[in-house]
Structure formats: C-alpha cells, structure tokens
Subunit: 131 residues, 2 copies
C-alpha cells in the first residue's frame, strides 16, 4: 500500500458494488476466511485464551496452522498477543477492538446459520438423491 489511496473510493459510487482484488477490506476478509481465521476469531470471543486452549476449541486445526493463522491475525490487528516470560512461558491471545467487531459479525452469522441448520440438512438429503 505504498501510495495512500483514498479508501472511501472502494465504496460503491452508483450502488453497483464491485469487489476489487486490492480493496483493503477484501484482503482482510480473505485473511479471515483463509480456512482457519474465522474459527480462531470465534474461539477467542468468550475470553482471551492460551495457545493450546485455542487449539482445543477448534477441531481439526494443526499447531502449524494455528500458529500461522494467529500471526496473520495479529499482523492484521484483529488479535493481540501477550507473552508472560515465566517458566513455562505463557502466551495469551485475545481480540482487539477491531477483532471484536469482526468476530461479532461472524458470530452473528454463525449463530444464525446454526439456527437454520434444518435448511442445510434438507439440502444434504436432496443432494443424496441427485448423486
């Protein structure tokens, strides 16, 4: 982002929304939706967590991916990281104000989809027919 592009330029001028590859918001969302980002953000909603606590809340995530995802989210200012230099070391991750806002939206969507799970289940059944 060398030249300071006017960020408001990404708003739709005539109501016709176009999603450009270099829209900063698209880039952030691409990070969030990079397979694990959303689950890490949702996992941190309740309270800050330590590394393995996060891992234990997200079935299927590897330590490598968790570490990598956390680093990206920290770089994006969605998550903060606090190191306690005790022995053994304690590292805590939590949502920044920015991250909380994002997580609230994601959480709202998640809860809503979960509430409509029946729709998805129906879809699964009818897919079995066409297979």
């Amino acid at each position: 982002m060398p030249e300071g592009k006017p960020l408001t330029a990404w708003a739709p001028p005539d109501g016709r929304e176009v999603f450009h590859t270099n829209c900063p918001a698209r880039q952030v969302i691409d990070h969030i939706t990079n397979r694990w980002g959303i689950w890490v953000l949702l996992g941190l909603r309740e309270r800050p967590l330590r590394f393995f606590e996060v891992r234990d809340r997200i079935e299927g995530i590897s330590e490598k991916m968790l570490s990598q995802t956390l680093r990206t989210l920290v770089a994006d200012r969605l998550v903060w990281r606090k190191v306690e230099s005790t022995v053994p070391p304690q590292v805590t991750y939590g949502l920044t104000e920015f991250g909380e806002g994002a997580a609230d939206h994601l959480g709202g969507m998640f809860d809503w989809i979960r509430g409509n799970a029946a729709v998805f289940t129906e879809a699964c059944e009818s897919e079995r027919q066409t297979d």
Copy 2:
C-alpha cells in the same frame, strides 16, 4: 447426515464453545468462506443477477470457479437459480431467504471492516518494517 443428530447439541452446553468438524453450521460456513462464496453472496445482495453480471462484480474470479461456487451455494439453499429457456438462454441467480440472512451478516462485517480500513493500512505499514 444419515442419523438425525440433534442439531441443538452443537450449542455450547457450558459456555465453552467448541467448533466441531461435523457441525452443520461449520460446514455451511466452510462453503461460504471457500475463497469465493462470500463474494458471490455479497454480489447478489443488491438484486438477482445473471451469470456474467456476477462475474463482472467480482474481480479475479474465473468462470469455472464462479460456476462451481454457485452450484455449491444453490445446493446449500443459500442461492436460487432460474433458467429462462430463451435463445440465448438467460440464467438468473438470487439470494434465498436463508442466503439473505447470511449475506446480511457478511455485508455488515464487510462494511464495518471497510470503515476500519485505516487499522489495516497501519498494520501493512508496520509489517513493511519487520520484513
């Protein structure tokens, strides 16, 4: 989804949220966040669109990926598809009620992130330092 699992079981029993791989909501979200899903849903928010209209609103998407993504979203009951057997054929895609709900949450997040783009821009700058 052969045996009818109680979907409410996925709600956190003790407030400790865990995201299981076979949680239906997680599966739907994994579809949505499958690189292009979110952008297709957001692109359809304003009004139903034809195939190439959708493509033109999402920079960087290939026709193959658009077609594939649309099929998944239709199967998940997030998007409907209407075929007009004219010559040339007209195919229109739009959000179902289910899809609208999901898109509203995604749109809220997108707008909110866009409004906070400055946070991300700062993050980019400080990353340049550490590189």
